[in-house]
């Protein structure tokens, strides 16, 4: 019977059944419908609405929030070039333009035969093997002009993505330095067996003794978080693993999930043991779609070995399972309360806090949200003991940190170091010479100049979620900051006024400087925007949106001053510049099509 159904109806029926008509899974349903139908048509929304009895506004509101969901036709092949600054440094824009030319399609538009669309996406987490792109959300690394030619040919011939050469999709781990975590050799079940021998209370004591702090950047004490969640009132408790690794330049969670998934899932299971949770969820960023089947296979293997499911390892009453939720292109969902909203199938808008997730998280119940690396480290601690772990690193920052190194260096990839390692040690190890700057912890982190390379990676000096992007002296630090500012403007959720409008105003200011219309006045404007973003924004995205600009103005001011045409005042409006669209339309570029008065680019 289903054979006669049209493909859209079939796709909707299948996904609705898979998620048992549960409206909390609407984001997963939308994603699956798009995978099957290439976009989310009004007819698909009709059918979803009927099946789930949801208002249309709710479904459209969710679909409209996520960058990777399309409610207008976008082509059978949807190409998104990763647009982190590291991709730019490797020439992604030239490749994008080249591909657009080859396929005769304008960037951001869908080709007239509805075959292909080409656009950019925020960092896809392949910075050590870029330039990278996504085709229908599957990652392709190490793009070259030749590879663009080959892909264009595959697209023209309408070759199914599954039949494309496998080597395109190869993502390498590139682990350059292992320490206790990446080199642990822990077998599945080792940590759980040790924990069950100690009991839940004993495990919590070890965790507290280890001084483990959250690896997502904020550094909250993991033991205290688990304890607070365990002590909170609720009908049920949940474990959530934040694998929405969206901070540009960060890719360590990708490797942990690709090659150490058992450690991560085991850490979640340990957390469930401590807090008494029955359900865990791993929120995987949409850019890592290619990991989904692998992760589900690992989960299935763990179920078979009784490391998940009912009565784990024979421990009566210890019932816990994990499911994977995929994101769909929204950096803000890395903020824990936005992530929970997204898990509940909503727009990824950060909640008003307090209350915090430990008391009111998923479905308003006590929830632990931890980073991928935090859960992996918890497994290690359960196995080796808290005192051992606390002895690694510095007194305020116990253990090791995995750094994702990319940019201008000979050996990009993962470097695991005990906390306290200096920036220059990492630079030496990765083979970076002639270094101008290092951006630590991504755009929302800090930009360091050479004088600061003696500083240390640690919560008490430079805390980081893991990104470590290197820039040599050939790089223009203004363009680095401008790339980051565009990123924040694109990723602002739009909920609060200061961030929604402020990030766009900041982007416009940076573009104004780039176009040669800036003046010292604009520095004051940037500082004013920074103040209001810092003090008025709803969440961390707005708070940190000015960081890259302020850092680079303070440390690399000449990169900005080069762009000032006049030191006094420069009007934002330039007559000759305003004529540009007319010149494009008429195909003219002769002297008569230019204004010659005033300064700037005229004539």
């Amino acid at each position: 019977m289903t054979g006669t159904m049209d493909p859209v109806a079939q796709a909707v029926a299948a996904t609705v059944a898979r998620y048992r008509k549960d409206p909390y899974y609407i984001l997963q349903m939308l994603r699956e419908i798009q995978e099957a139908c290439d976009w989310i048509s009004p007819e698909a929304i009709d059918l979803l609405q009927q099946a789930l009895r949801l208002p249309r506004t709710k479904i459209e509101g969710v679909a409209g929030f996520y960058a990777f969901l399309y409610t207008r036709p976008r082509g059978r092949y949807r190409v998104l070039f990763s647009d982190n600054i590291t991709d730019r440094m490797l020439g992604n824009m030239e490749l994008l333009d080249y591909m657009c030319g080859q396929l005769w399609v304008e960037r951001g538009k869908t080709s007239e035969d509805a075959l292909v669309s080409i656009d950019t996406a925020s960092c896809t987490g392949m910075c050590d093997q870029g330039p990278a792109l996504l085709v229908n959300n599957y990652a392709i690394t190490r793009m070259t002009r030749e590879r663009v030619d080959e892909i264009c040919e595959l697209i023209r011939n309408k070759v199914a993505l599954a039949d494309w050469p496998r080597e395109y999709f190869r993502v390498e781990d590139q682990v350059r330095r292992k320490d206790v975590l990446l080199g642990s050799g822990l077998a599945p079940g080792d940590a759980l067996a040790a924990a069950l021998a100690r009991g839940a209370e004993g495990l919590l004591c070890e965790l507290k003794a280890s001084n483990l702090r959250g690896r997502g950047g904020a550094g909250f004490a993991t033991g205290l978080k688990w304890e607070a969640c365990r002590n909170a009132q609720g009908k049920a408790r949940y474990v959530v693993c934040n694998a929405d690794e969206g901070e540009p330049g960060t890719f360590k969670d990708r490797v942990l999930l690709a090659s150490h998934a058992d450690m991560v899932f085991e850490g979640m299971t340990l957390c469930a043991l401590v807090i008494g949770a029955g359900k865990g969820m791993l929120y995987l960023r949409g850019e890592y779609r290619y990991l989904l089947d692998h992760l589900n296979a690992v989960l299935e293997r763990r179920r078979r070995r009784n490391l998940l499911g009912a009565g784990i390892l024979g421990w009566s009453g210890f019932d816990f399972d994990i499911e994977i939720h995929l994101g769909a292109g929204a950096y803000v969902c890395g903020e824990e309360s936005a992530l929970i909203e997204s898990l509940e199938g909503k727009r990824g808008t950060p909640r008003n806090r307090p209350p915090f997730p430990v008391t009111h998280g998923y479905l308003d119940q006590p929830t632990v949200v931890n980073n991928v690396e935090t859960f992996a480290a918890s497994s290690l601690i359960a196995h080796r003991g808290g005192a051992w772990y606390a002895g690694i690193g510095t007194s305020a920052s116990a253990g090791t940190k995995i750094l994702s190194v990319s940019g201008d260096c000979a050996r990009p990839g993962l470097y695991e170091y005990p906390y306290g390692v200096s920036v220059s040690e990492v630079l030496d190890a990765c083979g970076a010479g002639d270094v101008q700057a290092v951006q630590v912890s991504g755009p929302s982190g800090v930009c360091l100049a050479a004088a600061e390379f003696g500083r240390r990676i640690a919560f008490e000096d430079i805390p980081t979620a893991g990104a470590f992007m290197v820039f040599d002296h050939s790089r223009d630090m203004f363009e680095v900051a401008r790339n980051f500012v565009h990123f924040f403007a694109h990723e602002s959720c739009g909920f609060c006024t200061p961030c929604r409008v402020g990030t766009s105003l900041l982007r416009n200011l940076m573009d104004k400087l780039k176009n040669g219309h800036g003046s010292p006045y604009d520095f004051a404007e940037i500082e004013k925007l920074n103040r209001i973003l810092q003090s008025m924004s709803h969440c961390g995205l707005g708070h940190s949106a000015c960081n890259p600009v302020l850092d680079t103005i303070a440390k690399f001011r000449p990169a900005y001053e080069r762009r000032l045409q006049q030191k006094e005042f420069e009007p934002a409006f330039d007559l000759d510049w305003a004529l540009e669209p007319a010149r494009q339309m008429t195909g003219r570029d002769d002297a008569g099509a230019h204004f010659t008065t005033g300064s700037g680019e005229g004539a």
Partner: protein, 238 residues
């Protein structure tokens, strides 16, 4: 009334569970706000009501009052930032007060006047936002939308419908209506719906009556927004 806090030096009594802005407005003390409305669950998005508590800034509509709190609100620094927020709202949409039927009854305009906003300061974005004139009784002019979501909340929580919702993201966030066609005429909206009454700006305009109160005698022509105990009620009565 069991407890109190201080707001700009004044003692404000409050009942347990009330937010700072609820307690302040109940005591007749104005804190600027746009997305807050006494009848609805607080949203905390416009950030106009931001106050300083113990040196930290926080939205007063989502922060519970606590005994002994020291709250600053009517300060030069906070009002400067609020004025900037208001300017941001003006430039992200298309607000042409002289030709707007809601001029004088508009909370955005009144708040801007009250904060001493003399210009938009920033470059206008001039977004393209088509109007929806499909409904026989109501015109939707999205140019003026400030994304406060009051109509969304009113439709959902009071009218028991879901006529309005926010769609899109970031600066491209926009208001949608509950119809496949995207037209208000094809929704189940009714003229008596609370959702059509609560707009603090001029998105929702009744077609059959206009300028019933002449300019010069409108709500905020009579006294500034800060002089109303409940400005929302005053404009909805109009």
């Amino acid at each position: 009334m069991s407890a109190s806090f201080t707001l700009d030096g004044r003692t404000i009594a409050f009942a347990e569970g009330k937010t700072i802005i609820q307690a302040a407005l109940a005591a007749g003390v104005y804190i600027p706000h746009l997305c807050y409305h006494p009848d609805f669950k607080p949203h905390g998005s416009c950030k106009l009501c931001t106050v300083k508590v113990g040196g930290r800034q926080t939205a007063s509509c989502t922060t519970l009052a606590q005994a002994g709190m020291v709250v600053e609100s009517d300060t030069q620094a906070l009002n400067d930032e609020r004025r900037t927020l208001t300017q941001m709202l003006f430039v992200e949409g298309n607000h042409f007060c002289p030709s707007c039927e809601k001029s004088g009854d508009c909370k955005l305009q009144a708040t801007a006047y009250d904060l001493g906003m003399m210009s938009a300061h920033f470059d206008h974005f001039f977004p393209s936002r088509p109007v929806d004139a499909s409904h026989p009784g109501v015109l939707l002019d999205f140019n003026r939308c400030i994304l406060c979501s009051l109509c969304v909340r009113a439709s959902r929580d009071v009218d028991g419908k879901n006529v309005f919702a926010l769609c899109g993201r970031g600066i491209k966030t926009y208001l949608i209506v509950n119809a496949k066609s995207g037209r208000l005429a094809d929704t189940d909206v009714a003229l008596g719906d609370k959702a059509l009454q609560v707009c603090p700006v001029g998105v929702m305009l009744r077609k059959d009556k206009g300028f019933t109160v002449p300019i010069g005698r409108r709500v905020f022509d009579l006294k500034p927004v800060s002089a109303y105990v409940d400005a929302s009620a005053a404009i909805e009565k109009e």
